[in-house]
Amino acid sequence: MKNLLNRLRGVERDVLESPADADAPFYVPQRDEIDIFRAAWSRRLPVMLKGPTGCGKTRFLEHMAHVLGKPLVTVACHEDLTSSDLVGRFLLEGEETVWQDGPLTRAVKEGGICYLDEIVEARTDTTVVIHPLTDHRRQLPLDKRARIIDAHEDFMLVISYNPGYQTVLKDLKPSTKQRFVGIHFDYPSEAIERQIVAKESGGLDADRVERLVAAGRRARALKDHGLEEATSTRALAYAGELMQAGLPPRTACRAAMIAPITDDPELIEALEEIVAAHFPETDGAPTGSHG
């Protein structure tokens, strides 16, 4: 009953649901990623999205799923993820047993894009489950039910992978890696980043967007000098939103771009200095003195 209510209220929806007829999630292509993805889609090849945190991997996929009109099933992978979490399991219902498909199985059966986020976090034995899906067989074996499911023609597998330094000991197995088409993501170019920030922040004025993006790009140069993750496009968008919500620019930047990523006092000072150089006025009123 509660489930039904939630569904009516729109809070809860099925994992496998085709995108509604609204605008596609906002995405500005950086390079040729849309072409590559479309090509891979047309041949139903599995895709691997690589790139740093907050550069738009997930958004890209949402966008593509929407454009292609296919449901997107996202599974965030973690250490304790078992293969039955992906594939499905038997449940008891009354005196009966009922097989419940896992998200992967549903996507395979019904045709959809299955997105395994941060796949390296999952245990290697789990990732092996996807092997038969990623080659010409396009099959998902269900050991427990002694079945083999041939993938729906619209099924597509996408994984994401962030080659940071936490992956030294648990990199993807080469045998897994080479089954995918790789699309490399990085932070977008300055012009594109401006478009994104302007849009995501809900219409921040061009001057402040320009400064914000310029500051963000400067801050990115500090990666590896104490910053483990560079200032992401997402963080810039958040800062823009905070400004749009009425915060002074410096405060907004501190809250969205500095405080979350570091506790190192000198790094904070350097980042604040960068922000202050781009937003010289404390009140945030642009004067056009941007040099």
Partner: protein, 850 residues
């Protein structure tokens, strides 16, 4: 006595003098007319004093008579100083003190009056009683240097601690006076005694060390003083400034300590084309930021580009810029033609050049010009000649700022002669030409060396303060800028340090106030030419198989030669060695110092510790049922399958099964002084290794720690600090606390040896952590950095192939230039704050094993 008697007496003394010495009589007669005016009694007292002093010590008498005329005229009395001079009769060899006294007694008199002069004399006389050398130092030191502008009271305050310490510790006054007046300005009268006492302690420990302290030539001396100095301490904020440069220019420009000392005028940033040398303090934070950004602008926009400098020298008529012993260009020949007007030209030249690079920098850094102009406006403008230049520079920058904002009007008008400097293609040569044109303008007054420093806007500084290493043309792109301090330089550095010679050879430095001229004399000892740049070539080239005596007894390893694309087998000879430098006491010290960190770390370790009972799901047996597994089991069973009964949960020690070997670079470079703080890098390394060992020991992972150093290919030393089988005990701790740097770093062979050692360890994951502070280098790499890079990369690949995961932790901020190529992205991390190493090292490991 009647007047006539007095005159007779004077005449008698004169005749006595004549019998003793012709010179004495002549001098007395010369001075006498001036003295006679004060009456016969003082004149007689005077001539008797002259005679007595002459008989006591010829030099005393001569000094006395020589200075008398002037003293009488300036003080208007005779008895006072005559009587005071007589006091010197008490001591043999008091001539120098007396000479010093007489030379400035009249000036003391006119500044401080009679009472003041008497006090000054009395203080000095007390020193005669202690030691004549000290009395001489006292009287010879200009009195107005001693009083700190507070008259006799100031003098008393200054001398008091010295008297106290002389009586207590025998501290010599001349030693004390070398630094006390400056120190007083910084620590105040109250802090002076402590300052001097510390110096006396050092003096007791070692003469040269103590003297250097008082002369403020040693770090110890400076440290104490600088703590009391107001302003923005560059060293404490070095990393911040470095991060700023990193962010704005995407370059790692090395910052180093300059040699500015308190009392030496305005602190200014200097550069030699490779590094920026920061003075110990800046006026405030804004000035420091401007200075560093401006200094970097010179590097980025080719103020020191070889091509440009050569062109400049050609213009000036010198065909080739002469290089000094370190292949640096010296500026002297450029400015020499301006002779005594050199400073005037230098200021104008710097002014034009500063404007040029600042205009370019303003394109890069928003707010840069604004900050500079604000600073210059806030500070009081200098007066006199310097003021003219200062105003001119400020107006030019204001105009630049106004133009940048699109404003017009009076402020935006730039002197047309400077217009050329704003062209994006202007160069230092144009600055020279503009300066020549300005030089002809009589509006600019002559300027002396003392005033020169005030002609510069805050944050800006002499561009030719140091000889420079010529750079290649960069035109704003500093991305490949790096510290070229090579192995050779580090080597020399350590050698110098080990000698522990007095900080600088005073004889080697000319005491010219101009820093440009004030260079150490050329090094003429030793052998080798002065031509060529880069890593010095070894005198003996170890050509393959030629004249090379293989050292036996070690373990041979191959090496990868990228030039031939092949492995050279048995090329490197590696020896395992015992490290005999244990230091158990220091180990305790390190543990005590980092007790807090360790405590905090321990809490984090609890999370990762295998002692924590982790629930194991889906076990065949165990303490409780795993509900989820049971459901699956029952469901599967009902579905007609025959599942295995993996339905229990068991809490047990979770075994992550990672073995780690930490391989530390133990080359000479770790002995270098910590760039942003006290002490040496090696001290942080010791602490880091210690905490690492303690942390891992608590987790219970099998681990080992080793170090390596090399001297050419046949001597790679590999030191086990802790073997996998050894327990972490006091011996191991002592070894860690005793590590020191030696020789070079041939990393490939060390990685191969470590890999081999790790293969013997039974573990699921094998992690090889390499702790390094620079790129791999060795004496026989012939300056070809790529050779050892490629070999290290190959060694890293071999390790990966055998299931060992290498990961490099480097202290080298420029590590990202070469580490991605060697270890691959994500397989290295840069700890650019050496102070953080002790904390970060265990953290990095914990993160990796997660």
């Amino acid at each position: 006595m009647a007047e006539a008697d007095e005159l007779v007496a004077i005449e008698e003394v004169l005749q006595q003098l004549e019998r003793i010495s012709f010179v004495a009589q002549r001098d007395a007669r010369a001075a006498l007319p001036a003295i006679r005016g004060f009456g016969p009694a003082p004149a007689r007292a005077w001539i008797e004093t002259a005679r007595d002093l002459f008989q006591h010590d010829r030099e005393c008498g001569k000094s006395f008579m020589r200075h008398s005329e002037r003293l009488a005229e300036n003080t208007g009395v005779v008895e006072a100083w005559t009587g005071q001079s007589r006091e010197f009769l008490q001591w043999v060899n008091s001539h120098y003190a007396l000479e010093g006294f007489l030379a400035q007694a009249d000036r003391v008199w006119s500044s401080w009056g009679e009472a003041g002069e008497r006090e000054w004399f009395a203080l000095g006389l007390r020193w005669c009683g202690r030691s004549l050398a000290d009395a001489r130092a006292y009287f010879e030191t200009p009195f107005d240097r001693l009083d700190g502008g507070q008259g006799p009271a100031g003098l008393r305050m200054l001398i008091e601690p010295a008297e106290k310490l002389y009586d207590e510790r025998g501290l010599a006054l001349d030693c004390y006076l070398a630094g006390a007046p400056v120190a007083r300005n910084m620590v105040g009268d109250a802090g002076l005694l402590n300052w001097a006492r510390r110096g006396a302690d050092l003096l007791a420990a070692g003469r040269s060390r103590g003297e250097a302290y008082f002369r403020m030539e040693s770090e110890e001396g400076m440290k104490l003083l600088l703590e009391a100095l107001p302003g923005y301490r560059a060293r404490m904020h070095g990393r911040f400034l470095q991060l700023l440069l990193r962010a704005w220019l995407e370059a790692d420009i090395p910052l180093a300590d300059g040699n500015w000392k308190p009392g030496q005028g305005r602190p200014m940033l200097e550069t030699d084309g490779r590094r920026l040398y920061l003075p110990a303090v800046f006026g405030d934070r804004d000035e420091a930021i401007v200075a560093v950004q401006h200094g970097a602008a010179h590097l980025a926009f080719d103020s020191y580009a070889q091509e440009r400098l050569e062109a400049l020298f050609r213009r000036a008529g010198t065909e080739h810029p002469p290089l000094d012993d370190q292949s640096r260009i010296t500026w002297r020949p450029l400015f020499a033609p301006f002779a005594e007007r050199m400073f005037r030209f230098q200021v104008l030249f710097d002014l034009a050049e500063d404007l040029r690079v600042n205009a370019r920098m303003a394109q890069r850094i928003p707010g840069f010009l604004q900050r500079l102009v604000d600073l210059a406006v806030d500070r009081p403008a200098p007066e006199g000649a310097a003021g003219v230049y200062h105003r001119f520079a400020l107006d030019a920058h204001r105009a630049l700022l106004a133009a940048d904002r699109g404003l017009s009007g009076k402020d935006a008008r730039l002197d047309p002669r400077l217009q050329r400097m704003l062209d994006p293609d202007a160069s230092v040569i144009d600055a020279w030409e503009v300066a020549e044109r300005l030089f002809g303008d009589p509006e600019f007054p002559e300027i002396g060396i003392d005033e020169r420093q005030h002609a510069y806007l805050p944050g800006l500084s002499l561009n030719a303060a140091r000889p420079v290493y010529p750079q290649r043309l960069r035109d704003g792109d500093l991305s490949d800028f790096r510290d070229v301090g090579d192995a050779h330089e580090e080597h020399r550095f350590v050698r110098e340090k080990q000698d522990e010679a007095p900080e600088q050879d005073p004889a080697g430095v000319q005491k010219d106030p101009d820093a440009d001229i004030n260079m150490p004399r050329e090094e003429t000892s030793g052998s080798g030419g002065r031509i060529g740049v880069g890593i010095p070539q070894p005198a003996q080239v170890a050509k393959r198989g030629v004249a090379w005596q293989p050292r036996t007894g070690g373990i041979p390893y191959p090496e990868w030669d990228y030039r031939e694309q092949r492995m050279i087998s048995d090329w490197v000879n590696l020896n395992e060695r015992i490290l005999d430098e244990e230091n158990a006491a220091a180990a305790e010290g390190i543990l005590a110092e980092h007790a807090d960190t360790l405590k905090r770390l321990t809490r984090g370790l609890e999370m990762q510790r295998p002692m924590r009972m982790a629930p194991l799901r889906r076990q065949l047996d165990g303490d409780e049922l795993d509900i989820e597994a049971v459901t699956d089991f029952v469901a599967d069973k009902r579905a007609g399958l025959s599942p295995k009964a993996f339905i229990y949960r068991r809490r047990t020690v979770q075994h992550r099964d990672t073995a780690v070997l930490l391989l530390a670079d133990m080359s000479t470079s770790i002995m270098a002084r910590h760039p942003g703080g006290q002490g040496r890098i090696v001290e942080r390394m010791r602490s880091g290794l210690m905490l690492f060992a303690e942390a891992i020991d608590r987790i219970g992972d099998p681990f080992a720690i080793s170090g390596f150093a090399s001297k050419q290919r046949d001597q790679v030393h590999y030191y086990w600090l802790k073997d996998f089988s050894e327990p972490l005990d006091d011996t191991v701790r002592g070894r860690i606390a005793g590590i020191s740097g030696r020789l070079a770093s041939r990393m490939g062979a060390a990685i191969r040896h470590s890999t081999r050692a790790m293969q013997r360890v039974a573990s699921q994951h094998r992690l090889l952590l390499i702790l390094s502070d620079g790129r791999p280098a060795d004496y026989d790499d012939g300056g070809d950095a790529r050779y050892l890079h490629e070999d290290t990369r190959m060694a890293m690949k071999e390790a990966l192939d055998t299931g060992v995961h290498p990961f490099c932790i480097t202290l080298d901020p420029s590590g990202q230039e070469y580490l991605p190529a060697i270890f691959g992205p994500g397989h290295y991390t840069i700890v650019d704050r050496v102070d953080e190493l002790p904390r970060r090292l265990p953290e990095i490991y914990l993160r990796l094993r997660r």
